[in-house]
């Protein structure tokens, strides 16, 4: 009994004040703790760096509350009719579709080159670096940059959105392709199949639904990107109407109507993509 007590004493870790420690102090715990600390400190500091020009907090809050009430309780149209509203929503959806479809096609080819099990290391590495660079530039900057060369319009918007879609999908697609059972590829290689045979008969059939689901997820994102491009880069569509209603006409009812329209479509898209996710992705998905 005595000896086992002594043994226990030897096993106990103690804090500086002599209390018995119950944390193991491993790397994960301390990394989590440090991350939280750093983020907290940065958050506090950031409020000193903010630019508060022209801010009257109390008035702003009461006004916004009033505005939100008008928007969401009395939505209405005044500068255009229902038909026009549908047309503008259609334009936004159309921009999303084009960027997604073309993006998926380009991404498919690039991801075959980026997947480590199908490609050469140097090629896969190069594509990954380029993709990381493209992803780091905000979409709106791509659109604005293309707008200089192509002029404002759907071409610049689609091309700009395309860049980001391709970068996002290449990452997702190539990870999906890398999860293909190596046995399948090896078996096809053993029969003397060419690279294209392996891709068409081995890789694509087993990943097709997966790739389609990812594409749809991207479409969900591209819809809200298209709204943003309409508002910030003059790409037209419902986003542009939103920008005009709030920035030029100050028509809160119209802002409310447009917001509802966007909200309804976004929720429908979200419901569909959640279903796809639950059906085709067994574990949780990280974007």
């Amino acid at each position: 009994m005595e000896t086992s007590q002594a043994m226990n004493q030897a096993l106990m870790k103690r804090k500086r004040n002599g209390q018995i420690n119950i944390k193991s102090g491993n790397k994960i715990d301390s990394a989590v703790k440090w991350t939280i600390w750093v983020l907290t400190v940065l958050t506090v500091i950031s409020f000193f760096f903010f630019d508060y020009t022209g801010l009257q907090l109390e008035r702003a809050i009461t006004e916004t509350a009033h505005n939100l009430r008008v928007m969401f309780l009395e939505p209405g149209l005044s500068h255009f009719g229902w038909g026009e509203a549908f047309y503008q929503v259609g334009i936004t959806l159309g921009l999303g579709v084009l960027a997604t479809v073309f993006g998926a096609i380009i991404a498919l080819f690039l991801s075959l080159m980026a997947a480590e099990n199908l490609s050469k290391p140097w090629l896969s590495k190069t594509i990954r670096i380029i993709v990381a660079f493209i992803r780091a530039v905000p979409t709106v900057l791509w659109v604005l940059i293309f707008a200089i060369a192509a002029g404002l319009g759907s071409e610049a918007a689609v091309l700009g959105m395309l860049f980001h879609s391709v970068a996002y999908l290449v990452k997702a697609f190539s990870e999906a392709i890398e999860e293909v059972n190596p046995g399948i590829i090896e078996a096809l290689r053993a029969t003397g199949s060419s690279w294209w045979h392996i891709v068409v008969h081995g890789v694509l059939p087993s990943t097709f639904t997966y790739l389609l689901s990812w594409t749809f997820l991207r479409f969900e994102i591209n819809f809200s990107v298209a709204v943003a491009m309409g508002a910030a880069a003059g790409a037209g569509g419902i986003g542009f109407e939103l920008f005009m209603a709030s920035g030029f006409y100050f028509d809160l009812r119209e802002v409310g109507f447009i917001t509802y329209a966007i909200l309804i479509i976004a929720i429908v898209l979200e419901v569909i993509s959640t279903r796809l996710k639950n059906r085709y992705f067994p574990s949780s998905v990280k974007a």
Binding site: F50, L55, I91, L95, L98, F133, V137, F146, V227, A228
Partner: protein, 261 residues
């Protein structure tokens, strides 16, 4: 039987592809999109980029101002994400199956999350801009609201995924609700949640540029200013600083993720 199924699958794929082609065609029509034109644009645009988007000695002089605005944008994204995460944690605890207090609060939490998530960040910025004016607080609030919805959904998933059996065990020892949440639920889902927070910070820095253009704050406003005055050398410099900032933050968070997950 099997052959029939394959036939059916082939038919389905063909019909599916035809539908996609049709929708794409419809989209080109409604958006007035010219395929040939846009392909022709690409080489022109790339050529333009290489000749005009050059960082010159002159534009380097703007560096201090750019760094200040970039700092403001990064801080804005971090503050919005962190504070949204705190609120999201409470909403997620109310919303999750495992930890909900009652069904009404659970529904309410999920509703708030869905509402703030599905209204795009652009709409939030424009709505807030009307009363809050051109300053960081507008951008901060817009990012905050959009992040709130996204993180609440992600956190609910993380909590639901955590092992529920330990919740049962702690209940059986006579632990209270807050004991269970703080010692069984959060320790298990915290690394996953942190990973989502880091992801959201990366995303928000990119969104902050967009919000900045609309609300006239941060690096986005600066970009817009030089873009409109056609000073493309400074535009290039701003773009590069954003790219570097985003990549550095991505690298840091990947490193943290590797340790904690």
């Amino acid at each position: 039987m099997n052959e029939k199924k394959i036939h059916k699958n082939k038919w389905q794929t063909t019909i599916f592809l035809l539908i996609i082609i049709f929708i794409t065609y419809l989209s080109t029509a409604i958006t007035d999109f010219n395929f040939i034109d846009s392909i022709a644009t690409i080489p022109a645009a790339i050529g333009w980029m290489f000749t005009n988007l050059m960082v010159t000695q002159e534009s380097m002089a703007k560096m201090p101002a750019i760094m200040e605005k970039l700092g403001e944008t990064i801080f804005m994204s971090i503050a919005a994400t962190t504070l949204a995460a705190v609120v999201s944690l409470f909403l997620a605890l109310l919303g999750s199956k495992t930890t909900k207090v009652n069904n009404i609060f659970s529904m309410l939490a999920r509703f708030i999350a869905s509402f703030s998530r599905n209204i795009p960040v652009v709409a939030w910025s424009l709505i807030l801009l009307i009363s809050f004016g051109q300053n960081s607080v507008t951008g901060f609030l817009a990012l905050f609201v959009a992040t709130l919805g996204f993180l609440t959904r992600a956190f609910i998933e993380s909590i639901d995924e955590a092992n529920q059996s330990s919740v049962e065990a702690l209940t059986a020892t006579g632990a209270t609700y807050f004991h269970i949440v703080s010692k069984a639920v959060i320790p298990q889902s915290l690394p996953q949640m942190l990973s989502w927070i880091l992801f959201m910070i990366e995303t928000n820095i990119r969104s902050a540029t967009l919000v900045g253009i609309l609300t006239g704050t941060g690096i986005g406003y600066m970009f817009d200013l030089y873009y409109k005055s056609m000073n493309y050398n400074v535009v290039a410099l701003i773009t590069f600083t954003i790219v570097i900032a985003v990549i550095v933050i991505e690298l840091i968070s990947n490193k943290i993720r590797k340790v904690i997950l």
